[in-house]
């Protein structure tokens, strides 16, 4: 009986992240994975899926509703405890740190659940790292564009070479203890105002 594959329910409104978790669980040999994005009518889904483990992201405001459901025998027949073991502080910390929470059917052995939780935590971490890197790349691209624009303005208005324009931006940034992109941004805005482009 213990070798029966676990039924895992993933509740996550973030679709890409939910897919990443699902893929990870399937790779790890879990066949019975259900993904739910919308928590309305979740009670029926839980009754159908009869999950052994529920993974939910901490940003979901419906966690309170979910916990209430676990207290009511009507929706979920078996009592559910959170995390692998109520005293497993390290797991709880790692999960909350990553932004994920797990509810586990009481009595399920720790060695069966731990890998699932660890996997969810590492996928959550990987996903947030990926989003962060994407944001950084996006903002780097934005900065480069704005610096190019500022250089163009300086080259036109003061007759500087591209190199001289960049050196001026950099020197100003250093003197004011600000980023080059911030100086460039101010210059572009100011120039827009002076040209009358931003005024009605």
């Amino acid at each position: 009986m213990s070798s029966r594959s676990l039924s895992i329910l993933v509740i996550d409104e973030n679709r890409p992240r939910a897919s990443i978790i699902e893929a990870g669980l399937r790779e790890a040999g879990h066949e019975r994975v259900t993904i739910v994005h919308d928590v309305n009518a979740i009670a029926r889904r839980i009754a159908e899926v009869e999950p052994d483990v529920i993974v939910i992201d901490l940003e979901n405001p419906n966690r309170d509703m979910l916990e209430n459901m676990f207290n009511l025998s009507r929706a979920v027949k078996r009592p559910i405890a959170m995390f692998v073991d109520r005293s497993d502080q390290a797991s709880i910390e790692a999960a909350v740190e990553a932004g994920v929470s797990a509810y586990v059917v009481d009595g399920l052995r720790q060695e069966r659940v731990k890998p699932i939780l660890d996997m969810a935590i590492s996928r959550f971490n990987a996903f947030s790292r990926m989003s962060r890197e994407l944001d950084e790349a996006r903002s780097a691209l934005e900065s480069r564009k704005i610096i190019d624009k500022a250089k163009g303005i300086l080259m036109r208005s003061r007759g500087l070479s591209e190199e001289e324009a960049y050196a001026l931006l950099r020197r100003t940034a250093m003197n004011q203890n600000r980023k080059i992109s911030e100086i460039a941004q101010s210059l572009v805005v100011a120039s827009g105002l002076l040209d009358g482009g931003g005024l009605p």
């Binding site: 940003e59 405001p61 419906n62 309170d64 209430n68 405890a81």
Partner: protein, 412 residues
Amino acid sequence: MSAVHHITAGFLPLLDSAILVAARERGFAAEEGIELALMRETSWANIRDRVAVGHFDVAHMLAPMPVAANLGLTPVRLSLVAPMSLGLGGNAVTVGNALWAAMAEAGARGIDDPASAGAALRDVVAQRAGRGEERLCFGVVHPHSGHNFELRYWLAACGIVPERDVDITVVPPPLMADALAAGRIDGFCVGEPWNSVAVAGGHGRIVTVKAAIWKNSPEKVLGVRLDWAETHEDRLAALIRALHRAGQWCALPENREDLAGLLAGEAYLNKPSGLLLRALEGRIETGGGIAEIADFFLPAGKAATFPWQSHALWFYSQMVRWGQVPHGADNAEKARTSYRPDIYRRALAPLGVAMPSASMKVEGALSVPTPVGATAGKLVLGPDGFFDGAVFDPATLDAYIGAQAEAVAQEG
């Protein structure tokens, strides 16, 4: 200069986060050498978990939450204390337009009259049952919340058996109005501004308020991990002093506009300040006109921030009543000691503040504001009555719990 202490507090976007917000934004925390960081959360479960793992040092918590944690009712193992209350009142019961129409026909009157609203609701419930219609469904914010307990208390005192006659489900506060508009629930009990939001959206009508069901009753507390409270005694005391001063500031009518503006900020409630101002003034737009409610939300005065152990015990009595925990002397003791007036007194003693000499009171004994024994100066309490005239005497807890059980047996 003494060192600056960092304290991180979690909160949910509700009117009664006011004391924490004012403590940070109007300098009361800084005066006590505290750099107070406020982190908005999306669920009470998150508040609890983040306190458990130490992300938050303290938090804006549902008043029954520390009691529930110490009774082992929460999924994470956690010992919490409530060394301070964050005010009294602030909730209301709102129903959808269709249910209001039926209640009005059945004779529901003003929102300061829970008995007439409850009697009308009982008639509507009976009519629906007679026609074989589905049970009405009400939303509350958490099973261990003042909302759940006051809604059930009101229903039961009006002859509606919550378990048999209606469904009670959990909906997060910011989603209440939407759930009502979508017809997933027929009514709800929630803190402000979420009742006013539903009314402003044209989705419902406020039928009664916490301040009428149980006058000057507890709603949120400052929740702290027991071990944090023990290892950071001075820091916690400084925070309590800051919150005390912030509460007094919040209570002054001339500061309400400023406070409403603060709370309206994007980082806090992110709702129109006019809506919040009305709730702070106790002028509630019910959907059928403005009602003036005495002591609708009380952030100071009448010992509004004192953590009465009789409040903890009343919540415990309701947990027993609705089958959340079995009654026993050791459970009652765990519940009582979840609230820590000793910490509160020690923190505020240097300020010479008037504090109650007792740690418990008979709830429902005062029908008018009454001067009581205090450690310094003058202190006026109450009124603290339940709308049905019942009295909760913590000295006769067993009898109170016994009477509740009998009532349930008779109805069932």
